[in-house]
Symmetry: C3
Subunit: 154 residues, 3 copies
């Protein structure tokens, strides 16, 4: 099953592809490598999920926020490539979490995005290397920001 | 207009290319990719801009500090390549901000560096993907640290 | 002297290669590039070195923790490549430190890993670009997490 077909089957709704909040491109292709800027928690209506994990929302809401970031990344990929089928594989994910002091469950939170990618592209090609870490602060006080790198099919 | 000519026209003064503060190289070229280590706020006299944004300096001073980091990166590029003209494009910038709890304007701060790169290499080739995020702490309590990747001309 | 011979000569003991704590691969090879996920402070018995630098341990213990992360990365390389000799060079290290507010010596801490890599692959090929920065929090409250990229021999 293709990634686009899988996406359709999951019945997911994409947010609008996020516009840059500064002087950067959301997406850049260099030969067969695709780089995606740090994406935030953009929702269908364009608004952001806001708040710090364990201060303003629980860990399940944090994981759902990470899935929403994953959807924003998919929106950027669709917007620039026209299809998810051109992605050969996920290479690298940097999952940045905005959580209260003492938080320890960053991998669980970022799985919200990683499980989405694994569903779309499969357990092998949808899963790459990753770091899931806690930041001091994030833009607009969003709970999660994720940047990623993908490989395109030849 | 070439990047070097543009740099000259802007009348900017470079700091000395920063020496490593540890066991790393400031610059590494792998085929046509250039990786630049996390750079700090090195000034012309070699001293660092120090302090946390919104604790010790306002956001405009933070943005100016990010521009200074951009100048330090240019100094490293000149030191290793001899010219900015060999850069084909900016690929990726990771902008790391040291700000007070609750800070939300990381993209504005990192624009201090990104606007410089856009002036030097143009709105298309001087602008790549980016994440702009808040750290817990930074070396020497500098307000901004930035690492970057560039593509060289064939 | 080969990297494996050097490793043997140093008399180091590796921890077990860390298992993923989430939906990611510890290691991914794309052509001649090797990406390694954020690794933690895994010890020989599989337990983690836990605690924040300058809160729960001093800076020397933090540097030793970074060396332990380096050993965990070597374990992952051995597990996936069978040998350290296939590594052409260290390209990039992202050293993430969990330290008390006001901490300033991240490069010193991350040298614990970088000096290990320099011993294994030499002062030139064992040393790449690097950022060494302070996070807000890290998974399981480990003091250091490090992700890295390597180049393989042709």
């Amino acid at each position: 099953m293709t990634a686009d077909r899988k996406f359709e089957e999951l019945g997911l709704t994409l947010p609008p592809p996020p516009k840059p909040l500064g002087v950067y491109k959301p997406f850049l292709q260099i030969q067969n490598q695709v780089y995606v800027s740090g994406h935030g928690t953009v929702q269908e209506d364009g608004s952001l999920i806001i708040g710090q994990i364990e201060t303003d929302m629980d860990i399940e809401a944090g994981k759902a926020a990470a899935k929403q970031v994953g959807l924003a990344i998919l929106a950027t990929l669709f917007d620039n490539l026209g299809t998810l089928n051109r992605i050969e594989r996920v290479v690298k994910v940097l999952g940045m979490v905005n959580a209260a002091p003492g938080f320890e469950k960053h991998p669980y939170v970022i799985n919200g995005c990683s499980e989405l990618f694994a569903e779309i592209w499969g357990e092998e090609k949808g899963v790459g290397v990753r770091s899931a870490v806690g930041m001091g602060t994030l833009p607009d006080n969003i709970p999660v920001e994720i940047e990623a790198m993908f490989l395109l099919k030849a």
